[in-house]
Symmetry: C2
Subunit: 403 residues, 2 copies
Amino acid sequence: MLIVQKYGGTSVGDLERIQNVANRVAKTVKEGNDVVVVVSAMSGETNKLVSYAEHYSDNPQREEVDMLLSSGERVTAALLSIALNEMGLPAESMSGRRAGIVTDTVHTKARIEHIDPTPMRRAIGEGKVVVVAGFQGVNEQGRVTTLGRGGSDLSAVAIAGALEADLCEIYTDVDGIYTTDPRIEPKAKKLEKISYDEMLELASLGAKVLQNRSVELAKKLNVNLVTRSSFSDAEGTLITKEENIMEKPLVSGVALDRNQARISLGGVVDRPGIASDIFGKLASNNVNIDMIIQTLGHDDSTNLDFTVPMNELGDAKKVVETFIEEGEIKEASYDEKICKVSIVGVGMKSHTGVAAKAFKSMAQENINIMMISTSEIKVSMVIDEKYAELAVRALHSVYELEK
Amino acid sequence: MLIVQKYGGTSVGDLERIQNVANRVAKTVKEGNDVVVVVSAMSGETNKLVSYAEHYSDNPQREEVDMLLSSGERVTAALLSIALNEMGLPAESMSGRRAGIVTDTVHTKARIEHIDPTPMRRAIGEGKVVVVAGFQGVNEQGRVTTLGRGGSDLSAVAIAGALEADLCEIYTDVDGIYTTDPRIEPKAKKLEKISYDEMLELASLGAKVLQNRSVELAKKLNVNLVTRSSFSDAEGTLITKEENIMEKPLVSGVALDRNQARISLGGVVDRPGIASDIFGKLASNNVNIDMIIQTLGHDDSTNLDFTVPMNELGDAKKVVETFIEEGEIKEASYDEKICKVSIVGVGMKSHTGVAAKAFKSMAQENINIMMISTSEIKVSMVIDEKYAELAVRALHSVYELEK
């Protein structure tokens, strides 16, 4: 098999850990695989370099920030390659440029446009382990770019796609994706497999492990993604296309999002286009709306309830106030003490009654559901924050996820 | 004017010093010059990276060492560029590759083969200060190379040559080249100008400031080289071609080399080719011979006296022992307590009696001259080490260098 392995900052946090990574790579090679390794900067290095830049400027030029930050991954790549060669495994380090990673010109947040896999294929053909500096590429002008948060994961997924690798393993300090947060429900179980779409819907479960950008890219390029721990030999979780998952569970996991606030608008004038005006203005102020419920009021007005991310509540309030001043909204209330619990599962597509079971479970626990939204593979409910853990455990149990 | 400025590790040793360099560059730009800056890694960085590599291997692959070490200069280049931009001076950092520096494939000790100045010219044309990461280039295979000791100086000189710059300023913590070591002769004076050839002969005076490789390259490319201090505004020393020096002093400087040992061979069999055998074998054992004196012995044998660098004496002894075992040499003695004093000056070419004056001066001080060698612009004498300072001061005085 051809396997792409990506090791994050914690996994290459010091010289001993880089040796540990070398041992793991060697093991994978000895099992008969070709291996391409993608590495991050040693943990702390990137922050150190950022603080250097901030010594001179609050707003350093992005081109120069990229030149600066891209050095961290180069160092790790060279060191890992030296460690591998010393163990008798021929290895060759490559910068993003040398690995053929071409991006757009949006410095510090570049997108990979294409990868020329020729140099990597040449090195693999020579029996070498290829060690690529993650997080970076080069744009058409020949300048180094970096890919933003989670950038090394993106490098790994894109490389796996370009090389048509059998597997792309993302190593972190977490050993996979769980049915729910084990700190809330100790009975939570690690998932063996999960589909791309489920993973995207379960973002709050996987956010510490995988960013949505990486999962979306894996889905687009049809890359089999595995998240596993570099500190244990436990099997991780395979994120793959739905067709590869034989037994489709009704529900794969329960996600909790505490980072939500609810805005309730009362007495909204009932004229055509008013909802469009309000949400349009919120959007242009960079407020992201999640759920929306519209209900009829007593007189000719309507009520609008919607949720926004907690840290955008302030901006949302300002927008709402302007409509109140103009007399188009009578009153507004804001509730930060809410949360959103979601159940996710591809099995929902083909089975009915999955959502009803969730609502019944909430009723049995006397939890009031304030808002509901559904997609093909997800049911989300907004509830009082104080019931968050109770709701997660009830849902985890009712769908028998502990089994 | 187009000026190339090179700042070494001490000059960019911390964030404050990099700011200091930015101020100096800004001053040069405001005086109406175009500036290309070549920077080293912050002092200590390269050693740190080398120690990282040595954690894994006593003999790390040179390709990977280059990948590793080249990151240090990139960091400095990006930081200086950020500092310059913040001061309102448009600047652009460039790696060795981006600056068009193509080398051979001898990793860790590469030689610059050619420079494509197009990207630098483009940036200068846009009114930018170009900040180049020194010490590095790229080979034909597209891999990063480094240039070995003094590599950033070589980068600067080669860039100055490729851009046909008016001046190449090498900034260190020393403010120029002196007529002799001021720690020995406090009356030593800083030279305003000196020719390439004199500088090469005075290597021991300039070694801390400039390596011979850089001076040789400057001579070859006809680059006007200035060494000066980044910690003061004092004018430095211009190293240029002889034609640019109007008043040619008889003697420009007095150099002292304590790093010499003398080997005296007695009773060397007098057969054709014996000298060739001995010196050939020394050469093939990487022993560098400096001066040689051959004298006739009492019988049919000859005596051979020569000097070698102190740290090659051990190897030289081994070679000599083999000839003694074979009976071709009767006896050998070794003297580490010697030194070499030299006077250097282009004026010697056209004036007679310069050497005689030196010998007379030694005689007046009762210093015995063991060996003498001369070139067109240099007279060197081997003397007892205990007279080193006395000889330097005497020579400095007799040629009136304090004036």
